[in-house]
Amino acid sequence: MSSPFRARAVGMRLFPGEGRGPAVRPVPLGPGLRRGTTLLALLLALPACDREQRDMAGQPKAETKSFVTSGDPRSAEYENNAFHIAQGQKWYGWFNCSGCHFHGGGGMGPPLMDEQWIYGGRMEDIVASILYGRPNGMPDWHDKITEQQAWELAAYVKSLSAQPRQDALSARADEMSNSEPQTLQGRKKVVPENMAPPGSEDR
């Protein structure tokens, strides 16, 4: 826990009960050193803070009636957000997503960690796939989970292909035995399919 990022992240956590490990106290430092470090940590923390940002207004959000549309403002809210990604990771196991897609490699369902998005790789596309299903086997979940859960799932699913910011990813692997936490994996940056020029795939 020598990284100021790590210590800061723990300090900023809002609900310790939803945490991912024992609380970590900041390491005590000398007075001169401490002042400088605190300043440095604050400076560093400023741009990184949004990864933990959440709407805590306290009012549950209304569920939308119509289909998820392009340019939904929730995309920006959920993607790259550490809390929502971590929540999505939890739902991913609870709702048996891992039974078909495993930890991104696929099985009954297609892989989610590669660069191919059969039905589109934007947050809105992924949410639509989750809520309304797809004809070749993806079941619809709109009557089994909330929209918020769907957005959180989408945020996690998108993180499997290493597109979100690395500092928003969970340091905890949900899988029991078999692969390393996402933050420890050496993954290559994948350009979303709808942004990549044709023929630029690197595999």
Binding site: N96, G105, G106, D114, K144
Partner: protein, 606 residues
């Protein structure tokens, strides 16, 4: 002296002649162990191949012997046929008269090819199964083939339909809906047709499905009887005629009481493998799949009647006996493998038995009248089990290898896919040996509580598979069921997922997942011929007499299935848990072969 010498010389020549003649015409004396297929279930050779198992005894043996050990090296390609389907092809092609019938995986087409015209297609049957069925098929969208009987072809589709079609025209005669994909039920098996009944069971052991076997009337497609694998006795068709050999299988409603409350309703025991039939005893034999979920801590008890073999009366479906190979299964050891019906000496007396190379790695010899287990010997590497107690029939488990929540159990051998999975073995009456294509894999497993959500996976386990001792992932074993030991073994780099074929030319054929189609000497295990094909082989090779009187050997490529899904579904090798852990053992396969269903037919040059 001269005369005597001459007489000796003549006798020696005569003896040599006799010996060499015996080598061709009679069973091979040196190998003879007294085992032979149940005669009523294995009719005389007619040069056809009308059901995947070849006959009701499930020998997968053809008496054709034009292609033999001496000339197999000259085998040449006669013709091919491309199915244009890139999923895993597990089905056996059928040959009836001058026609060949080829079944594909989803979307489950049947092609009729005219063998008198070089394999020209005559008709194709396209049933249009529901596309959503692909999302509830655990291990690729496979189909294990059609069956021919009395002018009709019977086959199943992934979305749970059974069809009867006119073999001449390809027109549908009837179609019956049996499976419900919204509950995770699919159908992948090849039916068995006997006594005017079409027997079909469901798949979906990884989806919290309740297993069953249904008998349809071959004429009308109406359900004659349905036997569940879990639940109360009346659902399982257990009545007064049910006489299991072992005490642990006796009692009322064990299909309810050996489960936590209500768990039997989503408890698995699917029927997706092979059925054999003894026309003399009028009994069918088949195995039931794994209990659900995989996590054993969610289902304390013996979980009857999963992971065992049933004997039933074909007319009524009444259960006659049951033997549970893996009570309270810990490792997904579906007991659905083939049962080869043999008559062979047991303790010095000819006995009607069924021999089954089990998923758990034991070669069971079971009395097919009573269900008594005569022997159960390991035919591969096992460290998670310690043999079978023949007095109680119970499998002995190794405590350290039991998957438990909150820990990862390492180095469990064999894997969930077993020492041997679905791919069937072949029995040659000439050598008395059973030829078993199988695996040599081990796994790490962690289990956790699974949530039941209808139509989604219900497993609760994470698995990572890898090669077993020796590093080779597959073995082709020639097993002597009488002497209870392997006679020879042929190691393969990749797991074997294709069936075996044995012929009267003392050859055994099988394919590898990287596309080698091979012929071995049935006596010695020496490789005599091999040909690299465009895609890996996970199907069932067959042989037949063509319209020109020559012997042909046919095999279908198209890699896939559980072990091959990494290629057919383009899974990502960076996730070792993908495809229930199979991907970790098969990371190299995408570099060794490519998807593609194609029929290859070989024969000797004129």
């Amino acid at each position: 002296m001269a005369d005597r010498h001459g007489a000796h010389f003549l006798a020696a020549i005569l003896a040599a002649l006799l010996l060499s003649f015996a080598g061709f015409a009679a069973p091979l004396a040196a190998q003879q162990n007294g085992a032979r297929p149940a005669s009523s279930a294995s009719p005389a050779e007619d040069g056809q191949w009308t059901m995947p198992s070849k006959d009701y005894a499930s020998t997968r043996y053809s008496g054709l012997n034009q292609v033999d050990r001496a000339n197999v090296g000259r085998l040449k390609l006669a013709f091919t046929f491309d199915t244009h389907n890139r999923k895993g092809h597990e089905a056996a092609p059928l040959v009836v008269g001058n026609m060949m019938y080829l079944t594909t995986p989803y979307p489950n087409h049947i092609w009729a090819l005219d063998l008198a015209k070089g394999g020209r297609p005559v008709w194709v049957f396209r049933p249009h199964p529901q596309p959503a069925s692909q999302g509830v098929a655990c291990c690729d969208v496979v189909n294990r083939g059609a069956v021919y009987s009395n002018g009709r072809l019977f086959f199943t589709t992934l979305d749970g339909m059974v069809y009867a079609i006119d073999a001449r025209s390809g027109r549908q005669i009837w179609g019956t809906k049996l499976g419900d994909i919204s509950r995770g039920e699919t159908i992948t098996m090849s039916p068995l047709v006997a006594e005017g009944k079409v027997l079909v069971g469901n798949s979906g052991g990884e989806m919290g499905v309740r297993g069953w076997l249904v008998a349809l009337d071959a004429g009308s497609g109406r359900i004659a009887w349905k036997a569940f694998s879990t639940g109360p006795d009346k659902d399982v068709l257990i009545g007064p005629r049910f006489k299991p050999w072992y005490a642990s299988d006796r009692g009322t409603d064990l299909g309810v009481h050996t489960w936590p409350p209500e768990q039997w309703k989503i408890g698995g025991g699917t029927v997706w493998g092979w059925i054999s039939y003894d026309p003399k005893l009028k009994m069918i034999y088949y195995g039931t799949g794994n209990p659900g979920p995989w996590n054993p801590q969610q289902r304390p008890g013996d979980n009857k009647w999963t992971t065992g073999v049933f004997a039933r009366d074909i007319a009524t479906g009444e259960a006659r006996w049951f033997y549970q190979s893996s009570p309270h299964d810990l490792f997904d050891h579906d007991d659905i493998n083939e049962q080869v019906l043999l008559d062979m000496p047991v303790n010095g007396r000819m006995t009607p038995v069924l021999v089954r190379p089990g998923r758990n790695g034991y070669m069971y010899v079971i009395d097919r009248r009573t269900g008594q287990v005569y022997s159960a010997d390991a035919f591969g590497f096992i460290n998670s089990m310690d043999g079978v107690d023949l007095a109680t029939g119970r499998l002995r488990m190794v405590k350290d290898k039991e998957p438990k929540e909150g820990r990862v159990t390492r180095n469990i051998c064999p894997t969930a896919s077993g020492v041997k999975d679905w791919n069937p073995s072949a029995f040659s009456p000439r050598t008395g040996l059973l030829y078993v294509p199988h695996e040599n894999l081990c796994m790490d497993e962690g289990v956790f509580e699974a949530n039941y959500i209808s139509g989604t996976p219900y497993v609760g386990a994470e698995v990572k598979m890898y090669a077993g001792p020796g590093g080779h992932r597959g073995v082709f074993t020639a097993w002597d069921p009488v002497r209870r030991k392997a006679v020879w073994e042929f190691n393969e780099n990749l797991p074997l997922w294709s069936g075996a074929l044995a012929t009267g030319g003392d050859l055994v054929f099988y394919g590898t997942m990287d596309g080698w189609f091979k012929a071995l000497d049935a006596v010695t295990g020496k490789q005599l011929w091999a040909r690299k094909l465009d895609s890996g082989i996970i199907s069932q090779p067959v042989t037949y007499r063509g319209p020109d009187g020559r012997q042909y050997v046919a095999v279908v490529t198209g890699v896939g299935g559980w072990m091959g899904a990494i290629v057919s579904a383009q899974l990502d090798p960076r996730d070792p848990t993908a495809a229930l852990g199979a991907v970790n053992a098969m990371k190299d396969l995408p570099g060794l072969t490519q998807p593609g269903g194609k029929l290859y037919v070989f024969t000797l040059p004129r």
